[in-house]
C-alpha cells in the first residue's frame, strides 16, 4: 500500500508539528532538546523516528503526550492545538509500567477507570485486546507472573483499550531480547493493519524502524534535528523474509550513513 496517496489532502493530519522546539532552561543558559521539527503524520500512517540517544526523542514524545510544552513552534492533534494530555492518544513506554496490585485484565482497564468510561461497557473491548496480544488465558494473573515480553503486550493492550486514534510508542521493545522483539514487531504490524491506528514509533534500531514504518524520520543529535524523512515502500504485510531482501538492506544502509555507518547500532 502506498501511504503517500492515502493521506487525505483535505483533512487535517492526525499529528502535525510546525517549527517545534524544546529548550530546557538551566542557570548557565538553555539546553536545546530538539528544534526546527516539522512533521505531518497522516491518519492511519505508521511513522518511525530513529536517532541516537540524546537527540530529543523522548522530549518530543512527552510533548505529544501532553506532559510538557514546546518552547517554540506548534503541535496539533487532529487539527486542534495541543493543550494537555488527550484521550485519543495511547502511549506505550519502554518499560511496561504495569500496576502489580491489578490483574492483567485490570491493568488493561486502567485508562477506562481513569477516564470513567465504565468497566462493564469496555469489558468486551479489553478481552478482545487481550485476545489480540495472545494473553487471553492470563487475564486473571498478576504482572509478576508474566515474562517481560508478555508484560509489554499487556502495556500495548492497555494503550488501545479506550480506542485512541493515535498510538505513541517510546522504544517499546528496547528492553527485550531479539527473538521476542521480532515476534512483537510482527504482532504490532498485524495489529496496526487490523485496527488502522496512526502510530508514532520511537526506536534506536534502524532495522526495526524500516521493518515497521511507512516513513522513517531520521534525527541527528545535539540539538535534535530532522536529517531526512525516508519513505519505506516495502510491500505489506512484511515478514521476517523481508528483512533479508536487498531493498530492505538498501533502506537500512541509507539511514545508517547519518550515524557514521560501520558500528551497526546508534549508540
Amino acid at each position: 500500500m502506498n501511504t503517500a496517496q492515502t493521506i487525505d489532502t483535505a483533512a487535517s493530519p492526525a499529528l502535525e508539528l510546525r517549527g517545534a522546539a524544546k529548550t530546557y532552561g538551566t542557570p548557565t543558559g538553555g539546553i536545546t532538546a530538539f528544534s526546527d521539527f516539522d512533521l505531518n503524520v497522516g491518519e492511519g500512517e505508521f511513522v518511525a523516528l530513529v536517532g541516537p540517544s540524546g537527540c530529543g526523542k523522548s522530549s518530543l514524545l512527552k510533548v505529544i503526550a501532553g506532559l510538557s510544552k514546546l518552547t517554540a513552534g506548534q503541535c496539533s492533534v487532529a487539527g486542534e492545538s495541543l493543550k494537555g494530555p488527550r484521550r485519543d492518544i495511547g502511549i506505550v513506554f519502554q518499560s511496561p509500567l504495569l500496576f502489580p496490585w491489578r490483574t492483567v485484565l485490570e491493568n488493561v482497564l486502567l485508562p477506562v477507570d481513569v477516564q470513567r468510561l465504565g468497566r462493564n461497557s469496555q469489558m468486551s473491548v479489553a478481552r478482545e485486546l487481550l485476545d489480540l496480544v495472545d494473553l487471553t488465558e492470563f487475564a486473571d494473573r498478576y504482572p509478576k507472573e508474566l515474562s517481560g515480553g508478555m508484560q509489554q503486550r499487556v502495556g500495548i493492550a492497555r494503550a488501545l483499550v479506550n480506542t485512541p486514534t493515535i498510538l505513541l510508542m517510546d522504544e517499546p521493545f528496547g528492553a527485550l531480547d531479539a527473538m521476542t522483539r521480532e515476534h512483537l514487531n510482527l504482532q504490532l504490524q498485524r495489529l496496526w493493519m487490523e485496527r488502522k491506528k496512526t502510530i508514532f514509533f520511537i526506536t534506536h534500531s534502524i532495522a526495526e524502524a524500516v521493518f515497521l514504518a511507512d516513513r522513517v524520520v531520521v534525527m541527528t543529535s545535539r540539538p535534535g534535528r530532522i536529517a531526512e524523512i525516508c519513505p519505506i515502500d516495502l510491500p505489506r504485510p512484511r515478514d521476517l523474509d523481508t528483512m533479508v531482501t536487498p531493498e530492505f538492506g538498501e533502506h537500512v544502509r541509507h539511514i545508517r550513513q547519518y550515524f557514521g555507518g560501520a558500528e551497526g547500532g546508534l549508540d
Binding site: 512527552k62 503526550a65 518499560s95 496490585w101 477516564q115
Partner: protein
C-alpha cells in the same frame, strides 16, 4: 541450594532445645546461687504466678482493660498518623508549615509526655488511650509520608498522560504503593501503643496489667511482676501477628519473599 537451618523439623527441635536450655539454666543458676526470690525469681515461680493469676481470673480482667486501651489508642494514633501523613505528602503548603513541628516532636521522648497526659485525662481509660495514641502515631505518619512519596515517576507520567487527576493518581497509584510502608509503620506502632498504655498505667490507673504489675512491685512480688511481663510479651506478639495477617489480606499482591 543451601538448606535454610531455621526451616523444617530440625529447626523446630533446635528451637525447643534452646528454649529448655535457657529456662533450665536460669532456674539452675538462681537456685545454686541462692538468689532471693524478691530480687530475681526462678522460671518455675513465674510459671506458678502466671497459673494462679490466670486461674483466679484477675489477670484476664486486667488484660481486657489493657487490651482495650492499646487497641483504641492504636486505632486513634494510626488514624491521626495516616491522616497527617496524607496531608503532608499531598499538600506542599501544609508540609512546609508542619515540618518544623514534626521535627521538634520527633526529638521529644514521647514517654516523657505521659505524666502530663495522666494529669490532663485522669486515672481512667482516656489517659491510657491518649498516651498510646501519642506514642504510636509517629511511625505511621513518617511511613505514610515516605510511602506516598515513593510512587514511581514514570507511572505517574503514564497516569497523567491518560488524563488522571491528582486525586486519581493518589488513589490508583500513590496509596497502593504506600501500602507496604504504612503496614511496616503499623507493626511498629502496635508495640509502641502497648508501651504507651503500660507507662500510663504505671503512673496512675484504676485497672490494667501495668497497674497490677506496679502493685506487685510494691509488695515485692517480683515473680508476679515477671509473670505479667510474660503476658505483655504474649499480647505484643499477638497484636503484631494480627497486623501481619491483615497485611497479607490487604496487600494481597505482595511477594512473601519481599516482606521482612
Amino acid at each position: 541450594m543451601r538448606k535454610d537451618p531455621t526451616q523444617g523439623v530440625t529447626g523446630w527441635t533446635l528451637t525447643l532445645v534452646l528454649f529448655v536450655a535457657v529456662i533450665g539454666g536460669w532456674e539452675l543458676i538462681v537456685r545454686l546461687l541462692d538468689v532471693p526470690s524478691f530480687l530475681f525469681p526462678t522460671p518455675s515461680a513465674i510459671a506458678v504466678g502466671l497459673w494462679r493469676g490466670l486461674g483466679s481470673g484477675i489477670y484476664l480482667r486486667h488484660t481486657w482493660v489493657t487490651l482495650v486501651e492499646v487497641i483504641a489508642g492504636f486505632a486513634l494514633g494510626s488514624a491521626i498518623g495516616f491522616a497527617l501523613g496524607v496531608l503532608v505528602a499531598l499538600n506542599r503548603t501544609v508540609a512546609y508549615f508542619l515540618r518544623p513541628y514534626i521535627l521538634a516532636f520527633q526529638t521529644i521522648p514521647k514517654v516523657a509526655l505521659v505524666p502530663v497526659i495522666v494529669l490532663w485525662f485522669g486515672l481512667g481509660l482516656n489517659s491510657k488511650i491518649v498516651a498510646a495514641a501519642i506514642i504510636c502515631f509517629f511511625p505511621v505518619m513518617i511511613n505514610t509520608i515516605a510511602g506516598l512519596a515513593a510512587a514511581d515517576p514514570d507511572r505517574i507520567a503514564l497516569l497523567r498522560a491518560m488524563g488522571a487527576s491528582k486525586m486519581q493518581v493518589f488513589r490508583l497509584l500513590r496509596l497502593p504503593t504506600a501500602g507496604p510502608y504504612i503496614f511496616a509503620g503499623l507493626e511498629i506502632a502496635v508495640t509502641f501503643a502497648l508501651i504507651g498504655a503500660i507507662v500510663a498505667e504505671f503512673l496512675g490507673a484504676e485497672a490494667g496489667l501495668g497497674m497490677l504489675m506496679q502493685s506487685m512491685n510494691f509488695n515485692m512480688d517480683v515473680a508476679g511482676s515477671f509473670s505479667i511481663l510474660v503476658l505483655l510479651s504474649l499480647i505484643g506478639m499477638g497484636l503484631t501477628w494480627a497486623i501481619v495477617l491483615i497485611r497479607r489480606r490487604v496487600l494481597y499482591w505482595e511477594d512473601p519473599a519481599d516482606r521482612n
